[in-house]
Subunit: 340 residues, 2 copies
DNA sequence: GACGCTTGCGCAATCGTTTGCTCAAGTTTC
DNA sequence: GAAACTTGAGCAAACGATTGCGCAAGCGTC
């Protein structure tokens, strides 16, 4: 920048003002500066600027694993929203490891990101507290941290799971298995609860053996479905607490030589885009992934810009996407989208 | 930091040296500094440090779309390698748009990342040139930029595609369709060439109608396979130039009521982890994704640390992963891994 | 006891920007 | 024509770390 100033024969102050259009500068000087910038191939140093301005135009995002399609799509939507606002996104994979989580949060604070989008995996709150203490805006996704003063965005897991299960019941299924998620996650517990709600509402009973624990990964769905298929009085449908496990379920059923939906109906949860092309296409309770990303970014950036609203929990609705795997695609249901 | 120094009653110099262990400091002072750091909740400012040290411990990565499983896994492997070395990764989605590519590269330069891992989508070289001109280490993935002085990592697409096709020929298929990628990508052209090589080597002819253009996305595979299935003299096997299209192919075949591998055999390319759980599991020519990520990071960081070797093209081998979709899983082949 | 070495620490410059303050020149106003 | 504004631009002090250099005290040597 000093070089630019020298070449254009003006002060660095003027160069700065020209670059930022932050005060009036004579046209001829502007031109001189601009040609100097071009000829030197000058690019401003964001570090120095950030140091002075106390902003970095970077957001941190920490997810358990960005190669999980759900988080991949979430990260993508956040990154898009960042790009819109000339922000960059630092991506961190926590592997659901509280130690890594804390390490990353601390690193992000050191890097002085303007805000953080955090998909918490465990129950550890110390890392988040440390961030908030530094007055860095943070929004938690997929999880409500009680007694913690920060925004969070969640979907109505319980209602969604209930409606998904309801859909199977409406399809005349009575013995419906559930492949649940890790019980330490509220999201998983809520979805399990929703599954049970649907039975209660329909005045049906659920056999505890129908409920199989999973891990929110494909493998978990694959192994869990084996146990369900081994049941003496086998189930006729399965609600998987997320799409990844649903994919494992589909594969597990296929490996047994059974067919979906003729032999077993399957419904998932999340609405990852891959579900459109599973074999058969997956009926699922979709989360509004792009909206979540957009809202998260807006929330963080509004606080970056001085917003002082009381933090709150934003609860979004899910929507049923009916495809083939549930076997009721021909049946019309209010509020459910059908896809080809 | 000034506060810490004051509280510990030492100079900022000493605080700095204690924090970085960069010179001997008396034990009692060290303790005073450490307690001061704790009690103030002090976290160093990476901006200031970076400004002075001229390093940010951040790498930039630009990919076409991080929700594409292949890039997701690639990004993941790079991020892992970064974490190992206490680096952070800024993730950018170019959408294969040269304008966005340039915008991101320029932003990364401004942010003064220490290095860049770049998955080029088009042929645009101006952005890369600008980066190299600023002496920022950059490694290009998946693509060799001719006459450009930077490292690149590619797999042997042609040989890989040839072996994949060969595998189908060995399975007694003679009429094998090919769902190719966007012809502006060398990777796509090479794989197409490899497909043809296999025929030449087997002294067979390939009917031009068997070759259908695709887009490296699921949809492209889905629509391309329709055209192949409509052929008057239908094909019995398909080589898809990447796994995503192979998934579309599987679904397209399924939608027709045909079965894989009984009616049509399918082989993909990339080795994304999802392939293990498609219906049926996908035989594929796998890229060593994790090695690519590791090597890319090593290459970049070695140059960050002053390495001055002549840039070169690193060519990695692919490996055939035989699963169910090719219909020859029972057949033993040298050099091919079989999975359960 | 003077000299030189070693040891342990602080001073102050520096990294590359932004920005409050100042100031000269030009323009009104009365 | 002098006082009071206005206008356009530069000076220099931050921002928060790192680091070359220097200094004082302690110690050994002759």
């Amino acid at each position: 920048m000093k070089d630019v100033a020298e070449l254009a024969d003006v002060s660095v102050t003027t160069v700065s003002h020209v670059l930022n259009k932050t005060r009036y500068v004579d046209r001829s000087l502007v031109r001189r500066v601009e040609t100097a910038v071009k000829s030197l191939g000058y690019q401003p140093n964001a570090l120095a600027r950030g140091l002075r301005r106390k902003e970095t135009r970077m957001l941190g995002m920490v997810v358990p694993d960005n190669s999980n399609p759900y988080f991949a799509e979430l990260a993508r939507s956040i990154e898009d929203a960042c790009f819109e606002c000339d922000y960059n996104m630092i991506l961190c994979n926590s592997d659901e490891d509280p130690t890594k989580e804390r390490a990353y949060l601390s690193l992000l604070v050191e890097k002085r990101v303007d805000g953080i989008v955090f998909v918490a995996s465990g129950n550890d709150r110390s890392g988040v507290q440390a961030v908030l203490q530094q007055k860095i805006p943070l929004v938690v996704l997929d999880r409500e941290l009680k007694d913690t003063k920060c925004d969070s965005i969640v979907v109505d897991n319980r209602a969604g799971a209930s409606r998904a299960t309801q859909h199977l019941i409406d399809g005349n299924h009575r013995r419906i298995g559930c492949v649940g998620g890790p019980i330490n996650l509220v999201a998983a517990r809520d979805r399990l609860q929703g599954y049970q709600d649907a039975f209660t509402k329909a005045r049906l009973r659920v056999d505890p053996k129908w409920i199989q624990p999973g891990d929110f990964h494909i493998e978990g769905g694959y192994t869990a479905v084996q146990r369900l298929l081994d049941l003496p009085n086998p189930i006729t449908a399965i609600f998987a607490a997320n799409d990844l496990m649903a994919i494992g379920v589909l594969r597990g059923i296929g490996a047994r030589g059974l067919r979906v939906p003729e032999d077993i109906a399957v419904v998932g949860f999340d609405g990852i885009s891959l579900g459109k092309y599973t074999q058969p296409p997956l009926t699922t309770m979709a989360q509004p992934i792009r909206e979540i990303g957009k809202l998260a970014t807006e929330l963080v950036l509004s606080r970056v810009n001085g917003e002082r609203k009381e933090p709150r929990i934003h609860r979004l609705e899910t929507s049923l996407v009916v495809r083939i795997s549930c076997g009721t695609a021909t049946q019309k249901r209010a509020g459910a989208k059908r896809e080809t």
